[in-house]
Amino acid sequence: MTLFTAGKEKEILVKLKSNTELNTCLQYLYKEYFGFLKNMVLNNSGTKEDAEDVIQETFLAFVQIVQNDKFKGESSLKSFLYAVAKNIWLGKLKKQKAEFRRANIWVEANPKFEEDIQEQLNKNEALDLISNVLSTLGSVCKVILQKFYYEELSLKEILAFTDFENDQVLRNKKAKCMKSMTEKLNQQPHLKESLYKALRIF
């Protein structure tokens, strides 16, 4: 197994895994790999806009894969990102039924990590389909839930972003917001079912 050794990239992986300085890591990924990945899409019938979309989805999936401990360093970061972007772009092309020169896209002989990539992409696709649930939620709920569950701030810290009097009131509001979210989720049984499957929740 070829171990992934480049100093800066190792540092980025450690930060991503521990979910610290995400913005710095994303800046690094954009600086180092945007041009390379963009060329892959442009050379395979894609437009500049396609490239931007593919690269955003690539970095999103890559961060998730690293955070889920699925990136084992079996390939270089560059090859891995290429494989993620390739999977995303091929998926999009198939959906668009557009003509494309597949031969131009480098395909490795079914390496192990392709399965992990595809699994993450399936999850993201299912999550994307149901993400309108979140957009129907009120702005206050959105702020509370995002800050608590994504930014991992405490209720005391979140209080500063809201007009609530104390953290007990905020705690109650948070519970109501979560309830509202699960209710909205249950209003879309088909999407929910496919999401359960993709996330392997039984």
């Binding site: 800046q27 600086k31 955003q56 999103l60 979140l134 569950y149 500063a160 009097e165 519970a175 989720l185």
Partner: protein, 240 residues
Amino acid sequence: MEGFEIFDDYLNNKMTFEARLGFEQQLLENPELKSSFNDYKVVLELLRFQGLKSDVEKANKAYQIRNESKFSFPKIKIAAIIIFGLLTFSAFWTNLIEGADLLENVPIEYIEPNQRGDAEEKPRAEFLYLTKDYEGLIKLYVSSNEPTEKLEFLTAMAYFNKKEYNKVLELIEKLEPRDKTNVYKNEIEFYKCQSLIGLNKYSEAEGMIQKMEYTNPYKSTFDWIYVTKIKILAWKESFF
């Protein structure tokens, strides 16, 4: 304890061993609880996915802006014209530009943002600020045992209006460490820069502008003319 909090504790390993076993037993025996727990996990996945997606979108936007300004050919041409203009009129500018001009050129306004913290001092402090009773506001701050972030910020603004820039920087130093929760982060960066100009510390002020992120709406206040003037003043500062 509310259902969701039990789920939080279970997923965050905050339960005792016995409580954990008990909860897992309940999940096996109670299909309704199991279903709620599964829904809850799905919602968490969705929230994390959306949060991360939004961060990647922001990073993309910032990268595209930086890239455009770096490589856009018309902008390079414009930059060349500016440099030529600067060289031609440098002597003229160097003699004319003063730091006070810079403070006058940027309108100083206190903008009341949405969803800011509440506290007992708030209405009073705001009233004093809006009626320009800066002395009264400073007194209120001095007499307050536990000044709120808002009171500290408004007091900094009062000192700014009184042109006591060292005091502004002292207060900003207190506010700055609360970077993550500080609702005045954008204003603090802006007024720190303005106060540094007021103290003729142009290099530091220029550094502050560079440090400001594009998501800070005040960043756009500093157009290229403004930044060029600061650069000239910083250059002058290094010589005299």
